[in-house]
Amino acid sequence: MSFVRRNAWTLGLVALMVVLLGVTRLIQPNFGVSGLESLARAALPFAFATAAMAVVVIVGGIDLSVASMMAVCSVTAAVLMQTMGGVPAILITLAVGTLMGLINGVLIVVTRVPDIVVTLAMLFVWEGTALLILNTPGGTAAPFLREAIVGSVLIDGLPKALILMAIIVAVIWVPLKRSKLGLAIYATGSDENAAFRSGVAVGRTKAAAYAVCGLFSAFGGLSLLSLTGIGEPVPGPYLLAAVAAVVLGGVVLGGGIGGILGPIIAVFILRIIRTILTLAAVDPNVTTIVEGTIMVGVVMFGAFLMMRGRGPT
């Protein structure tokens, strides 16, 4: 199977993104470097939330507690950074995120309660935990954390925030995808019974995928902290946005199909659409209607193309 056919969905999304950037430029001729930078910054927490969600959807599950875990991580880092250096605080936060994800995963595997129920319950648990850690927005962010996402690197127009995100996601995802664990994640999501019979440790694989989800959520929380400079205990609108981007990004709900690049491009597409509608001075209430319509339209169109591609050969 050729590279193009295998990555058709992602390539289509890239094309769509380029078109949308062109449209933005048309509407607002002075949309340029600073526009791109702020776009990338604003997309950062969405991108991490989406990466987190993509991993568990690929393994055949779903995690409704992503936004709450991000809130816990954001306040944890903000509180820690008041008393200790930025780097240890970040490391502890990442560990906390991974641990939360692992707890979600182990609960799902051990209790055999459906993932949607467990993570819905954990959504409330983590939400409360965040408020226990910090009951009003507060704490502090290490200065380098703020600087890490402002401006461009190497050349103008290559936003630092984008590069940082690309590096973090690549460092976690690429080795994972090329490992036996990565294969096991796809196998479990595709057909759990066949994976079990093929010798995959299905339970551990799921737990590991949820842990990776927690790790990405921790990065999401840190990006929130670096954006605002303070810890925010109330979860933002990241949960459903992440599910939307995952679906638009070509990951099949139910598991086994898709990657992480597509969903992240989908995040940018959704952000650019919002920018365009804002620039075009569309009523904000209409904006969400348009976003929803585009999402359904793209997924339907993609499914239609795939069906034709799979027809009589």
Partner: protein
């Protein structure tokens, strides 16, 4: 035969797998009470039993999918602490199931990596099993079932198992592949390994196996050497009492029913495989359909069931042309389809009663309140008529395979059958249930039903059918009367070798 005996005498003392007094209960249901099985080096052992005898539970215990309540399983003399399929594999027992355990969304190469299978060894076995052209980058979900079974088997062989377990592997497999599978399995034994072979087909067992262990009601009731004429004894053991062997439906040629045909199919074509099918099906007739895997029979049945639109040709019912845009149209026209895969027909989590009653309440205009008493009576009638075991009727998925199959047929009986489209109704079910299905099919025909009966087992044709159409390469190539329907004759036709005397 001599090679079998040699292998047995040399390997007599060397036990590869020894399972003794294995028991397992699920709640109040005692699936296994005292099951035992030994496999020695160089042996192919058949594991036999009627549906519900505990065979699948026993297999799950041997392969580590579930833990036994009692008993012990030793592999090569050491107690096997088999807690998962992965551990069973490591201890040397590798199973290959009827449903291939391959991951649909990964390609062949990734599926091999998943189990650390060496690609070169895999290629060797795949070639041995007739798939030299197999591409490693093909997606599993794009491949036909027969190929998947071969991949699954080749993968198992590549891990050089001490004991290979083949569970109903040849059901619905084309005959040429069956022969290669049997040859390779025999070769395994000759190389000093062991094979456990599970099948409902006596012919294969007689050809391949050295011994047979028979399960009945959760216990091992016999262990006997394969010898000519053993079928009767095995059947006797499986059933607990001697029963009649299947009777031929047609000892003499039945006259072709006169009058107007119920169903007339002319020059029917449907993508991708069916190119030209013409035949007539009369009331009171059971018309067999014989074909190797993938010759267009799937498309034929799907068109007749309203699930697929024909590319060309006509279907007439009682003389009026019919075109279906939804399965409901076909059902309304009296064409009742029973798919080969039970999972496609049943609502697994729902009760026996709802499953049987569904066709009465499926139409939108009957969406009002259920006519419970009426429904109850009809369901009871279907259960009675098919002798469905109702002990686990709360959820259809807990019934045994044979009983599930009866439910798929039974749901159409309550309504009065006009035309029944049976697609391999005896696939993977036990001898006893099969023998209940043949007379049922005959009885329905005698009551005036017209029945189209696809079967992957050639021996069924004379048992159930009046005549059979043979499809090869998308075309009807021959029509064989049941009295002439020897396996040889059907086989030749199915391979497209229609001989001179075939012009019946």
């Amino acid at each position: 035969m001599t090679s079998k005996n040699d292998a047995m005498s040399t390997g007599m003392t060397d036990t590869l797998l020894d399972a003794q007094n294995v028991a397992k209960s699920f709640g109040a249901v005692r699936a296994l009470t005292d099951a035992s099985l030994t496999v020695r080096r160089g042996e192919v052992v058949a594991l036999m039993g009627a549906n519900g005898a505990g065979k699948s539970t026993f297999v799950k215990i041997l392969t580590g999918a579930i833990r036994p309540d009692a008993g012990r399983v030793t592999i090569r003399g050491t107690e096997a602490r088999v807690g998962s399929p992965a551990e069973a594999r490591r201890s040397g027992l590798v199973p290959v199931y009827q449903e291939p355990s391959l991951i649909p969304d990964l390609d062949v190469a990734d599926n091999l990596r998943l189990g650390d299978t060496d690609a070169e060894t895999f290629r060797h076995w795949a070639a041995e099993l007739s798939h030299p052209e197999l591409r490693l980058d093909a997606m599993i979900r794009d491949l036909p079932l027969a190929t998947l079974r071969i991949i699954d088997l080749a993968r198992a062989l590549a891990s050089t198992p001490d004991v290979l377990l083949l569970d109903e592997l040849t059901a619905a497999l084309p005959t040429d592949l069956v022969e290669r599978v049997l040859r390779v399995a025999r070769q395994q034994a000759e190389d000093g390994r062991g094979v456990i072979y599970i099948s409902h087909r006596f012919a294969e067992i007689a050809e391949l196996c050295d011994r047979a262990t028979v399960l009945r009601d959760g216990r091992s009731v016999g262990d006997l050497d394969i010898a000519p004429g053993i079928e009767d004894r095995v059947v006797e053991m499986m059933l607990g009492a001697r029963i009649d062997l299947g009777q031929r439906a047609a000892e003499t040629a039945r006259p072709k029913p006169g009058g107007a045909p119920r169903l007339r199919v002319q020059n029917l074509a449907a993508a991708p495989k069916l190119t030209d099918a013409s035949f007539e099906l009369h009331p009171g007739e059971v018309l067999g359909v014989v074909a190797l895997e993938g010759q267009g029979q799937d498309e034929l049945f799907e068109v007749l069931a309203g699930m697929r639109k024909p590319a060309a040709g006509t279907v007439e019912i009682d003389g009026t042309p019919a075109r279906f845009s939804h399965p409901a149209d076909a059902i309304a026209a009296g064409l009742k389809f029973v798919p080969g895969n039970r999972a496609e027909a049943l609502f697994r989590e729902r009760s026996l009663r709802e499953n049987i009653a569904m066709p009465f309440s499926a139409r939108a205009r009957s969406w009002g309140p259920l006519r419970l008493r009426h429904e109850k009576a009809r369901v009871a009638e279907a259960v009675e008529r098919l002798q469905i075991d109702t002990r686990a009727q709360g959820e259809v998925q807990r019934l045994s395979g044979g009983n599930q199959q009866k439910v798929t047929i039974g749901r159409w009986l309550a309504h009065g059958v006009e035309t029944l489209l049976l697609f391999d109704p005896t696939r993977g079910i036990d001898v006893r249930t099969k023998r209940q299905i043949y007379p049922l099919v005959r009885e329905l025909a005698e009551q005036g039903a017209a029945i189209l009966y696809y079967t992957s087992e050639l021996a069924e044709v004379p048992l159930a059918c009046d005549r059979a159409v043979v499809i090869f390469n998308g075309r009807v190539v021959d029509i064989v009367e049941a009295v002439d329907a020897t396996e040889e004759r059907l086989m030749r036709a199915a391979y497209g070798l229609t001989s001179a005397e075939g012009a019946a």
